[in-house]
């Protein structure tokens, strides 16, 4: 799977999300994603990750072997830099 495809799927599933996906190993099945969205506001980490998994749907079960996730609100993202 192409990292760009994953970016598109996450962005489609989570409104206003800024998404950056990297292929972790170059093998097309281990990915690393940073997702920044105001919709994470007031949500715990489990809920945030579940939103991302939902956006990926069946691809998460079938094509993606592993996805390392960082889920941040815009404010948290600002603080990181």
């Amino acid at each position: 799977m192409d990292p760009k495809e994953i970016e598109t799927m996450i962005a489609r599933g989570i409104p206003d999300a800024q998404v950056e996906v990297r292929d972790y190993t170059g093998g097309g099945d281990h990915f690393e994603a940073i997702v920044v969205s105001p919709s994470f506001e007031g949500k715990g980490l489990i809920e945030r990750h579940q939103l991302v998994y939902q956006a990926l749907g069946d691809a998460m079960r079938a094509q993606v072997h592993a996805l390392t996730l960082k889920t941040l609100t815009p404010a948290q993202y600002q603080n990181r830099r």
Partner: protein, 112 residues
């Protein structure tokens, strides 16, 4: 399926820290499982593990149980806390240890 859910429920109830993983604590079969186990080893707290690779039915059931598509999965005090990334993040922010200690303290208080 129902049996499997019961098995999961009793495992997370009986073990204050329960990790569903690939392999076991001595021989993790996946980098994410290994990293998760390493964090709890570092904290030096008691924990139990179940190997989903040796039990495909468990592997399927645990994903439904928590509505979470990936392994490992960590349960503290019967509650799903997260996978590798979340545990790592909670450990980095210093939130994990108090969470575990509180769960363990609750047990000994109940027994005492």
């Amino acid at each position: 399926m129902a049996d499997m859910i019961e098995k999961i429920e009793s495992a997370v109830k009986e073990n204050k820290v329960m990790i569903f993983m690939k392999g076991n604590r001595s021989f993790p079969q996946c980098g994410f499982s290994a990293a998760t186990v390493a964090i709890f080893e570092e904290l030096g707290v008691p924990f139990a593990t179940a190997d989903v690779l040796s039990d495909p039915e468990l592997r399927d059931a645990i994903k439904r149980y928590s509505n979470w598509p990936t392994i490992p999965q960590v349960y503290i005090d019967g509650k799903f806390v997260g996978g590798c990334d979340i545990i790592r993040e909670l450990h980095e922010t210093g939130e994990l240890e108090p969470l575990v200690k509180a769960a363990l303290a609750a047990t000994s208080a109940a027994r005492g």
